[in-house]
């Protein structure tokens, strides 16, 4: 099974120069297009948040709810995870499987901490009565930040699955492409978070 798939891959590479385009390159290209659609989704949620962020319906507003110090810690953690994800790709390019898996694990761990902090923040807010149904502002807040959190969570599951695949199959063109794609995804979520941090938190507490 393993050897046949490897043979497949080699054969596959030998016929790349004519008739058939490089599958792995095309998949990466497809993922870029997917990222554009995801930008549109986040863009819609950002627009919604900007339109609705003053509609607090007499409930708590951004300045009442956000604690910047906690968010800065979260931001730092996510930025670090982006860095470790970059280290994972460096390890990939050097062909070091163990280092690659290790850095991915660190990245996933940091991502998990980020999600943990976010859940904690949400739970805290809900506890104070700032639920989604309290006001349009809070609906938009939970949706925007929660969608980002959901993306990070999906990324975590994916990353774990990828670590398993790497340890079983090693670095092949397929797993290599997968690592590259998840690092794209991870950096993308980092960029989105920077916007969330600026638009929601920084501009909120001002």
């Amino acid at each position: 099974m393993k050897s046949s798939s490897l043979k497949n891959v080699q054969k596959h590479h030998s016929d790349r120069h004519h008739s058939h385009p490089d599958m792995e390159e095309m998949r990466t290209f497809g993922f870029w297009i997917y990222l554009m659609t995801d930008i549109m989704i986040f863009g819609t949620f950002f627009a919604t948040y900007i339109v609705l962020h003053n509609n607090t319906n007499g409930g708590p507003g951004p300045a009442d709810l956000f604690e910047l110090s906690g968010v800065i810690v979260s931001t730092f953690i996510l930025l670090t995870s982006s860095y470790t994800c970059g280290l994972a790709v460096l390890a990939l390019n050097k062909g070091k499987k163990q280092a690659l898996i290790g850095w991915l694990a660190v990245t996933a761990l940091l991502g998990a901490v980020f999600i943990g902090l976010e859940i904690n923040e949400f739970a805290h807010m809900v506890h104070e009565g700032a639920t989604m149904s309290r006001s349009a502002f809070l609906s938009a807040f939970y949706t925007l930040v929660g969608t980002h959190g959901l993306h990070v969570t999906v990324g975590l599951v994916w990353m774990i699955a990828l670590m398993v695949q790497l340890s079983v199959k090693g670095i092949t063109p397929v797993t290599k492409r997968k690592v590259n794609i998840i690092s794209l995804f991870w950096h993308f979520l980092d960029v989105v978070w920077i916007f969330v941090f600026t638009v929601v938190y920084l501009m909120g507490v001002k």
Binding site: N54, N55, T56, N57, G58, S135, A136
Partner: protein
């Protein structure tokens, strides 16, 4: 090709019937093209101008299409030329990028001008002071309040001829659209905000209006009569309502809001600031449309008007 010919006959026949239907007594029912006020008239003219402008291109193109299809059909011994590789001509292509650009440019100028001229919230030029009618879309009827006269009606709108009417439109229902085709175009009725629409009737007569935006089960029953009458008649009508009709109380309004259909009816007075209350009920939690403060300002100034002229009348009805 036997079949299509037969069917072409059928097509001609059906078109003939269609023309006949139009020409026999339906024309005056085409009310949008039969305006009774300055706004609707301007809009009618605009429709006609833009149609004519577009037809300058479209009719020749339709004729050209027929000629080309006929002339270049494949047929033994036809005389028309055949040049299978002729696929580009900068000159020709410039012409047909140019023609639509020219037409659209002309139309664009007309459109922008008239968009500003016909902006619904712009007061109409007139020698007389406009009267205000506050319109509320309810499920499934219209409530008209005349703050200056202190009366209210349901599904019946009486207006003096030649006087600009300032409609303030809101909804205590899903979004609706307030439309009196013979007086002018429509305006959305939305909760939490008061839209302004100026209309005027130049002639006396009976027209009708409707809710043009779907609001649920009995939305199709939201037609209302519009009666344009002379100023004297209008004043008589107002004083008759003041003396004969019941009072609209807050509870009465709450009943009106409940989904139902109603015949036309009238009220000799309504709770003070009812319209503003309806608007602010939904607007208080928003930052769009009118702010709370604007609304308060508006209602106090309106109160001002009504206290001067109408207070005694309202007292009498008690």
């Amino acid at each position: 090709m036997k079949v299509p010919k037969k069917l072409r006959w059928l097509a001609t026949l059906s078109m003939l019937i269609f023309m006949l239907l139009i020409s026999t007594g339906c024309t005056e029912k085409i009310i949008v093209l039969n305006p009774k006020g300055p706004i609707a008239e301007h809009q009618r003219d605009l429709m006609l101008i833009s149609t004519v402008l577009c037809c300058i291109v479209i009719i020749p193109v339709l004729i050209l299409t027929a000629i080309i299809v006929w002339r270049y059909r494949d047929k033994a011994g036809r005389k028309a030329s055949y040049s299978p590789n002729w696929a580009h001509s900068t000159k020709l292509e410039l012409i047909w990028w140019g023609i639509p650009i020219a037409i659209i440019a002309t139309l664009a100028v007309i459109t922008v001008r008239s968009t500003y001229a016909l902006e619904p919230s712009k007061p109409l030029k007139a020698s007389v002071k406009p009267i205000t009618v506050q319109v509320t879309s309810l499920n499934w009827k219209w409530l008209f309040q005349y703050p200056e006269q202190g009366i209210a009606t349901v599904n019946e709108l009486k207006i003096p001829q030649g006087v600009p009417i300032r409609f303030e439109i809101t909804a205590d229902s899903p979004m609706n659209s307030f439309w009196i085709p013979q007086l002018g175009g429509q305006m959305y009725a939305m909760s939490g905000m008061a839209m302004t629409l100026y209309l005027q009737a130049d002639e006396q007569g009976k027209f009708w209006g409707s809710g043009a935006n779907f609001t649920g089960t009995d939305f199709a029953k939201m037609y209302f009569d519009v009666d344009s009458v002379g100023q004297d008649q209008f004043d008589q009508w107002v004083s008759k309502i003041k003396s004969d009709s019941p009072v609209l109380t807050l509870d009465g309004y709450k009943q009106l809001v409940e989904p139902s259909t109603l015949q036309a009816r009238s009220y000799s007075s309504f709770p003070e600031g009812l319209f503003e209350m309806t608007v602010t009920k939904y607007a208080s939690s928003h930052n769009h449309g009118m702010s709370h403060k604007d609304m308060l300002d508006m209602s106090t100034s309106d109160d001002h008007d009504s206290t001067h002229g109408e207070m005694p009348g309202m007292d009498m009805s008690h």
